[in-house]
Amino acid sequence: MADVLLLQAVRKSYGGGASPRVEVLHGIDMALEEGSFAALIGPSGSGKSTLLNIIGLLEPPTAGELHLAGKLASGLDDAARTTLRNRYLGFIFQFHHLLPAFSAEENVLMPMLAGVGRISRADRERARMLLQRVGLAEHAHKRPLQLSGGQQQRVAIVRALMNRPRLVLADEPTGNLDTQTAAEVFALLHELNREEGTTFLIVTHDPRLAATCPRQLKLLDGRLL
């Protein structure tokens, strides 16, 4: 199958000018196959977050090329990166980061609303279907603060899937959940990966959860092992 993500010699350094220049990523080459499920692991300070931000088109790499869904995505301006993020990427954050002013369903719809500017009936149906899929159909109109931590994270997960992204990036998605809930959420990610065929790249600290992933990318001192 085709690669949904391809990184070639990606480098990232910070500083320069007056402050000393620090290179965080020293030439990353990697590829993710369409529909794969990979864990990105490494000690803190290894550059995981930076790599994830670059893959997520939130930060441009200093050097190297990044292809997303067959398109060259490095060297683009903010507007172009924003469009690509909306169309091809889904984000799951450690602290779910739902918008408290909106209901669960509206939060799920938000990527579509943000990208397209408005919502169609089909979008609403998809949002409801997704919420139902994760067992939150009856909570669709509750605000995030009325939901438990596990429920909130499930809303955040289906929000990431709303726009049918090619790649979902998850940054410690179970970081603030208890072991039991974390395992459930991880199992859910696996299921969604199979059902929707969406590629997942998950940053995690938890070796047991990482062990459940078919592929593990180990990052150490800015290099993939």
Partner: protein
């Protein structure tokens, strides 16, 4: 469900306390502006109306007679002369019918009246009062100065041998409609006339001095033959009277005084009042803008992470900009609606409290729809402009930094 509208509205609703603060600020500011404007406009309109109720808007007089040198000084020579101003005693307008027609035909002129005025004495029962004899054609004069509302008693008619007098003079000489009195001019000519009506010109001095009589009688008494001394003009464009005066002066060759130049102090007072009310409005508007901007800046900082999330999931920066600009606009518009109500209420309340002696309001407050519409538009624009800085800040947030907090 539109992104900008939905998110702007939800964020405002969610941040209740901030929204209440900002709305309160806008509301009070707009209320002050509406109140001041209504009071000042009402006051000015009333003052001008009262001042002009017995005045012409433009008065045409004969040009001053100037001393002409009999022999011009030779070129290069310096002439020393002691020139005294001539008396303007016999200065009248002859052949005025053509001029009057010309004036009446001028655009924006709604009325013009010939006037032959001069000093005189009114006598009755041994009492002599110095008066101003004002000879008019009543129909023309009423086109220039409204008399209906000034009638105290009698009938507004000015047949041959009839006069209209002010109520103070009537009291001084013990006159009522139907009574007779004797008029004498400075030259000694006399006439016996009958009072047809007693008027209240609104100013005691005028009530004591003004005697309106038929134009012919005045010309005879004052010895003007067929001449007149002034042409009174009324215009539909009150505040363009100065331009009209200049135009009429050029067209007729007469001197023209607008009500503004005859009431210099009043005009200055009105202007400075308007200027100070404008200053107040401008500074209040600035204060409102600053309060909107400062609350929105805080709101942007507080919602930094949410903005970052929205940016990360692919919200274009322009839409984030739109959200906060719209918030400023909504706050401005809503605040101006509330503020207009409050300001109008305050103005009406003031006019209820402030009474003249006879219990009628001191002056009507000028609350017209134009004031509310312009206030709402300005408030909306100020809201959007004030939101510009916070909105730019929100749109320029780096999602990575914003999410990290």
């Amino acid at each position: 469900m539109n992104f900008v509208w939905t998110v702007a509205w939800r964020l405002l609703r969610e941040g209740r306390f901030q929204s209440a603060l900002i709305l309160g600020g806008v509301c009070i500011g707009v209320a002050v502006v509406v109140y001041i404007t209504a009071i000042v406009n009402g006051l000015q309109a009333t003052i001008v109306e009262r001042t002009l109720s017995s005045q012409a808007h433009v008065v045409l007089r004969p040009a001053d007679r100037l001393n002409q040198p009999v022999m011009p000084a030779a070129k290069g020579a310096i002439a020393l002369a002691d020139v005294r101003k001539r008396t303007q005693r016999e200065n009248t307008i002859a052949n005025w019918a053509r001029l009057l027609q010309l004036v009446k035909a001028t655009p924006t002129v709604t009325g013009a009246a010939a006037m032959a005025s001069g000093p005189g004495v009114a006598q009755q029962g041994g009492v002599r009062k110095s008066v101003t004899l004002m000879g008019v054609n009543l129909a023309d004069y009423r086109q220039v100065v409204r008399l209906d509302n000034k009638l105290v008693s009698g009938q507004l008619q000015l047949g041959s041998g009839q006069v209209l007098i002010g109520k103070e003079l009537a009291a001084d000489l013990g006159l009522t409609p139907g009574s007779r009195l004797r008029l004498q001019s400075a030259s000694g000519a006399q006439d016996s006339v009958q009072v047809s009506a007693v008027l209240d010109f609104g100013i005691k001095d005028l009530n004591r001095r003004w005697v309106l009589l038929p134009l012919r009688s005045a010309q005879n008494l004052l010895g003007y033959r067929l001449d007149i001394t002034e042409i009174y003009v009324r215009t539909s464009r009150l505040y363009e009277a100065e331009t009209l005066a200049a135009n009429l002066s050029a067209a007729t060759g007469l001197t023209a005084d607008s009500w503004q130049s005859s009431n210099g102090q009043l005009v200055t007072a009105l202007k400075s009042q308007r200027a100070s009310s404008l200053m107040i409005r401008v500074f209040v508007t600035f204060a409102v803008a600053l309060s909107i901007a400062s609350v929105l800046v805080v709101s942007v900082v507080q919602r930094q992470r949410e903005i970052g999330i929205l940016r990360a999931m692919g919200t274009p920066a322009a839409r984030i900009l739109g959200v906060f600009l719209l918030q400023g606009g909504i706050v401005g518009l809503l605040g101006s609606l509330l503020g207009s109500l409050l300001g109008a209420g305050m103005a009406v309340g003031f006019s209820r409290i402030a009474h003249t002696e006879d219990g009628s309001p001191l002056f009507p407050v000028a609350l017209d729809s134009e004031l509310f519409v312009s206030t709402a538009l300005i408030a909306f624009a100020v809201g959007v402009l004030a939101a510009l800085l916070p909105a730019l800040r929100a749109a320029r947030l780096d999602p990575v930094e914003a999410i990290r907090g």
